[in-house]
Symmetry: C2
Subunit: 423 residues, 2 copies
């Protein structure tokens, strides 16, 4: 990584502890990513993004802020980033995926909180994540109990705005969500000092839709057998989508897709034909949480799709771009986000249907339902998912784990036993 | 207990397992309740209610249903029982407080769910709770993740209606709640087949307010030193309020209060003057969860108030009885419930203010913040409560526990150490 120490210092980071955090990533990345055989050339860009994980993009944010721009840190696929972009702001996904931050999170949160939230809070209070330190405001939402209460703690460190997501999906709730998106627009305008006009929002929708289309295209190649790209690589691309510059991201992802298209044409795969194909369904996987994918893909199977917030829930639906007025576009925007089927809703039958559909579309042999420890909504909903899959004769394995390495061999054994069934 | 086997059989209960459940209560009740010295005579009624816990009231419900009446099982202080009563229905609080039901709950819920929810679900699926079996419909709400998802499971066994409680307390949310209360009214009218008129609702409000006033009066005597009633006895009265006939309950509680009034006049107390006075704040305590109170009151201290759903959150606010129209009364009703400060809201500063106020009003020496294991909202909010109390020099002990007996001696040791500080 180039020398960004001055930059980090200017962000008032804890440099000593940050060095410890950064020291661990290269060897992990080499083991999990660089060692994979037959990776697409197009992954080089994403390798470079990881090599510069706390550098290049952070420098861009600093430059943006120097020009008077604002940075909004987000944690959830329900936050309409189009509004931030339309007001000239930059949205950065902040979810923490490293065990490094968990002990700091546990200083202010009970142990029985999901590792993603503990890591996110820990990243902030330890001052070791330059993205947190580059944010002018955090944008939380009321998706789960743990997050809802964590915002109150984060708000003691940095202004944390909370969007109220309804918990049901009736027409009344859709209307409430539309109103909530409008209130968020007002807040973003106030913070950025920029009034959002129809054309700004329309352009922002186009940019975000382009990102979604690129990811949809990327995922479409995973429907082939053999797969031209590993599940780990596809996951990485999606993870990077949350904080990279959207236009550059789209360009590079489309380049990667063209390469994958050629691979499909020529029948080239990174896993042998007939390798067991797995859909992951459940909790989000934030960088560098590649644990489950790595275990699966070093056990002879391949992950072909993620029904998660770092998978299809992030990009499956496009925003309708046609709209005569700003208000119409805001309704389009709210409607798009309200289609996401998260376990935070009750009832949430549609998510089960999504999983069944994805198994079919991606020609999967089985599903691993994944939930982060203490992620109650997904943990409880797992039983319903498993039941629906079993009714269709689709094998399902439920795995609950955190960011630690202690259970790795136990999970590997369970995955290997599961693959015996799937084969 | 009289012989209610025919009644239980008619409810399709598992009689064999129900016998096991019932067998444990008398000795527990004797140890925890009957052994207390100097109990008020007025507690005899409540002793009788417990002695007949699955009998007398269940027979009343059966009679009510025979006459065409409906029974609604509830789980939360946010459900406006006035609406049920106004439509000729009976509301019964169903929260499970026994470890007996936990293993059955764990058949369909993860272990990492709070014991109250596991026990409630377990009570239903084991067919060992006559109140569940007497219910025509359950009424859930979206207060926490675990409950929200548990309703979906319970709905597979019995029709379970869900009220959406907003997660914030802005004017927009209050309006949404008013609307939600109106929708609930429609549902209850449909189930009971009875249209609610202004006079029905007004009368129901009066009845429920009378219950609240009786409990407020009861609690007022606990502000005295010495206290004329133990915390355990006061807790029991509140717990019984959730399912007893309201009119009889008020009568008997007012009788008890008159006796307590005399005791206060004569200076008679059940704990010696100057015994450390403790406020409990946090998660609800359902029958027979008397664990924490019993530990405190057998360690030389007395519980003087509960800032819980089985305490002040249940009865502190009255519904405004004046209203020209049905709609006005419905707004009054919604407004009253929306004042409750539950940790499910964000932000929730008002709850901290409530606790500080109660410590002052009840002349408490310290607070024990209690949360059921995996009750995330209260568990996370505990840190904020503790901080606010410390800032005022009020000792605070945080206890997290479930329904099991394994940690009893450990908790006793912690309470004893805490009382050293408090004294």
């Amino acid at each position: 990584m180039s020398d960004y120490r001055d930059l980090w210092q200017s962000l008032n980071m804890d440099l000593e502890r940050h060095d410890l955090l950064c020291a661990a990533l290269p060897s992990l990345y080499e083991e999990v990513y660089l060692n994979q055989p037959g990776r697409p050339q197009g992954m080089n860009y994403f390798n470079a993004v990881i090599a510069e994980i706390h550098g290049m993009r952070v420098a861009e944010l600093a430059e943006h802020r120097k020009q008077g721009g604002k940075v909004f840190g987000t944690f959830c696929v329900f936050v309409p980033t189009e509004i931030i972009r339309a007001a000239g702001g930059v949205a950065i996904g902040l979810c923490g995926g490293s065990q490094f931050w968990v002990p700091d999170g546990e200083k202010v949160l009970p142990r029985t909180v999901c590792p993603l939230i503990k890591a996110s809070v820990g990243a902030k209070i330890s001052r070791t994540c330059p993205y947190f330190e580059s944010s002018d405001m955090l944008v939380g939402e009321t998706t789960c109990d743990d997050k809802k209460k964590a915002w109150e703690i984060l708000n003691e460190y940095i202004p944390t705005y909370v969007m109220e997501l309804p918990q049901m999906k009736r027409e009344k709730d859709r209307q409430a969500w539309i109103e909530e998106v409008g209130i968020f627009k007002g807040t973003v305008e106030k913070i950025t000092g920029k009034k959002i006009e129809r054309e700004h929002l329309r352009e922002a929708i186009r940019v975000e839709n382009a990102k979604r289309k690129a990811l949809k295209r990327l995922y479409s190649f995973r429907k082939n057998d053999p797969v031209p790209i590993s599940g780990k690589d596809a996951l990485l691309v999606t993870q990077i989508a949350f904080y990279d510059d959207p236009q550059r991201f789209v360009e590079r992802t489309e380049e990667l897709c063209s390469e994958l298209e050629e691979r499909v044409t020529s029948g080239y795969g990174v896993f042998k034909n007939g390798a067991p194909r797995i859909v992951i369904a459940g909790s989000p996987q934030a960088i560098p949480n590649w644990k489950l994918h790595h275990l699966i893909e070093t056990s002879g199977a391949v992950v072909v799709c993620e029904e998660t917030c770092t998978g299809t829930r992030y990009f499956e639906h496009l925003v309708q771009e046609e709209g005569e007025t700003l208000e119409e576009l805001l309704v389009n925007l709210a409607n798009r986000y309200f289609q996401i089927n998260c376990a935070c809703f009750t009832p949430n039958h549609e998510r089960v249907e999504d999983i069944l559909r994805l198994v079919h579309e991606y020609r999967a042999d089985g599903v691993i339902h994944y939930n982060l420890s203490f992620c109650q909504p997904y943990s409880i909903e797992a039983a319903r998912v498993e039941k629906a899959l079993k009714a269709k004769g689709i094998p399902c394995l439920r795995i609950e784990t955190d960011y630690s390495e202690e259970d790795i061999e136990q999970i590997r054994t369970r995955i290997e036993a599961f693959l015996e069934v799937v084969r």
